[in-house]
């Protein structure tokens, strides 16, 4: 399936882009993170990240649909 990935903060630096279209066999954010983290050598373990699908926080086992927009969110530091 095709997904749009969004990257933020240190993950954006590691990926080298703020967004991209990818083709993947992953069907949930958990397995997708495994692929993406290996590709860009992300150092965060999943437990330290949150995931958003189509602009909303989502569980790691949410079933993904073709065309979904996915972001892995590192620990926040606003304020």
């Amino acid at each position: 399936m095709n997904y749009t990935m969004l990257y933020f903060a240190s993950l954006r630096d590691a990926a080298g882009c703020d967004s991209e279209r990818i083709a993947s066999g992953a069907r949930d954010p958990r397995s997708l993170y495994g692929e993406i983290a290996a590709r860009y050598r992300f150092t965060f373990v999943m437990e330290h990240l949150r995931v958003a699908v189509n602009g909303e926080f989502a569980p790691w086992d949410q079933a993904l649909a073709d065309g979904d927009e996915i972001a892995f969110l590192p620990p926040v530091s606003g304020g």
Binding site: L6, F8, A9, A52, G55, E56, P75, V76, S77, G78
Partner: protein
């Protein structure tokens, strides 16, 4: 106006405060978060905030709604900067109006704490020495 918003330009607390005033408001509590010149033992010379704007605005609005449900307040506004900031500049502003001070203090504290822990905004510090770094704090960071 939006009760929670991101701003690419300088925050003006005078303008924001004036939006909280009405004759039923006996107490206004505000919080100003500013860029300081040190963090974790390192000299800081400036910073940048990056946000996942769509989700940050939705989560921020949710926090403001929670505050209005939990506390006896009449109004609340929060603005968070994005982009490059210099030392001393306002990074985040929270203002709460209520009939009485207890609710205003409590709601203001609630809003800033929740914004810091939940809203997808990230800080990148520029140091006097060494490379700039994104801050990705573990739970239990300084309050």
């Amino acid at each position: 106006m939006k009760v929670f918003s991101l701003s690419e330009t300088a925050i003006d607390p005078v303008v924001l405060s004036s939006q909280l005033e009405n004759f039923g408001t006996g107490a206004i509590v505000t919080f100003e978060g500013r860029v300081r010149d040190h963090n974790d033992g390192r000299a800081v010379r400036g910073l940048a905030y990056q946000a996942y704007a769509e989700l940050a605005e939705a989560e921020g609005a949710k926090i403001m709604k929670e505050a209005r449900a939990r506390f006896e307040i009449s109004c609340a506004v929060c603005v968070h900067r994005v982009g490059e900031l210099v030392l001393g500049e306002l990074a985040v502003w929270v203002g709460v109006g209520a009939a009485h001070r207890d609710a205003a203090f409590a709601a203001c504290r609630y809003i800033i704490d929740e914004v810091k822990s939940r809203v997808p905004i990230w800080k990148r510090e520029h140091y006097s020495e060494g490379q700039p770094e994104w801050l990705h704090p573990a739970k239990g960071s300084a309050r």
